[in-house]
Point group: C2
Chain length 212, copies 2
DNA sequence: TCGCAAGATGAAGGTAATCTCAACTTCACT
DNA sequence: AGTGAAGTTGAGATTACCTTCATCTTGCGA
């Protein structure tokens, strides 16, 4: 559950463009909850390609209900995976924050945590490394994650640990590459590639400049 | 069932288990050729997921003919893409051989050439970086490519340019990773990641050992 | 308890692909 | 030219998914 984190001075109206729908009936609310749970479970086990049929069955409802409650596959995906991804990203941030040492070490810890989460949870992996253009909330989580990494990277560069010509989108590519190796089922290789990339990213005398 | 060969006066049969089919009729031979060409063109333009319908239309025959001549999608794929991949791998080998300098430089040239070919030809990319388990001839080409790279890598390690704990399967992963970034359409990023990986692969004082 | 709007259902329709096979066409040999 | 085997054809079977909608069911206010 997203914690809004603000101790606001007065009441602020909810969201400006809230469509002001009538409240859901009790059974419908129950079904939404069951579907959310079922979708999260199924996605986390089988990835985001899980058929709606599977999710509906797991929730004990029919596929039609998914459409009644969420409108489309993409909407379900965006809503459910958003929460899931948000949780993972926050956990990784906590790990980075809890890492004593240099910004470089925090950066390594953060990227390592995200990559491990990709390996552990197919849904999360699909979410941050694959393209889901119709999932805006999901994109927001990814951006948030990258922004955090960017901050750490800036610190690491200042320290002189991260090479000067490293760019922020390089980090995004770590996740992309890691996700691909996860999908290939090559966990050992994944770790090696990650290690190689970090080695490449370190500032060093006599390193060749990166292209671009 | 061994064939007791000594009754056979002169000719030894070519391949032991050649099914000895009757020769194809002229029109069928023509169709095989048209299909090979069409498949190579279509695969190279759209990747190995091109539907058979597209290929059949391009060749001016019906899908049924593909099955009559090749037996299955995978068989067509194996046969056609094998040739295509073999050509690319040989070209890359020639580039490596034509590169003056150290084994490390040859290795970089070879891997770079393969990766560039992946970027230029979707069929080749799918062939060496994706899994096509039902394509044995294709797998052979990949193995051949890796064996060549392995030779160069051994030389580069002897020179002291390649880190001691680099392994041969690391090179295979370069192709996998590169292929993924090609598919993502991120050519600039692809080059940067490749550069980072090579930086990571260089022998250096004070580098961390790779996991595994 | 009743009525009805909200909600659930799942078969049917749509799409996009591989693969099959009975009916037709053509080659090549006499 | 005639004939039969070889070859081609393409609609249909099949699979696997998403999405819709007419019909049935149910929560809940009166």
């Amino acid at each position: 559950m997203p914690n809004d984190g603000f101790l606001n001075s007065g009441e602020v109206s909810t969201v400006p463009e809230a469509p002001q729908r009538p409240p859901l009936r009790a059974d419908a609310r129950r079904n939404v909850e069951k579907l959310r749970q079922a979708a999260a479970d199924a996605f986390s086990e089988h990835g985001l390609d899980t058929p709606l049929e599977t999710i509906a069955k797991l929730a004990g409802v029919s596929v039609g209900t998914i459409y009644n409650r969420f409108g489309s596959r993409d909407a379900l995906l965006d809503e459910v995976v958003n929460e899931l991804a948000d949780r993972q990203v926050r956990a990784a941030m906590a790990i980075a924050d809890g890492t004593a040492g240099s910004a470089w070490e925090k950066l390594v810890a953060y990227v390592g945590a995200i990559c491990q989460a990709q390996a552990d949870d197919p849904a999360f992996n699909d979410a941050i490394s694959r393209r889901y253009p119709n999932a805006p909330a999901l994109k927001a989580v990814c951006d948030q994650s990258l922004a955090f990494a960017t901050g750490l990277a800036a610190g690491a560069r200042t320290e002189g640990a991260l090479r000067e010509d490293a760019r922020m989108d390089d980090i995004a590519r770590f996740f992309q590459v890691n996700g691909d190796l996860v999908r290939a089922g090559d966990d050992a290789g994944r770790r090696r590639v990650l290690a190689l990339l970090f080695e490449g990213l370190r500032a060093r005398a006599g390193s060749h400049p990166l292209p671009g």
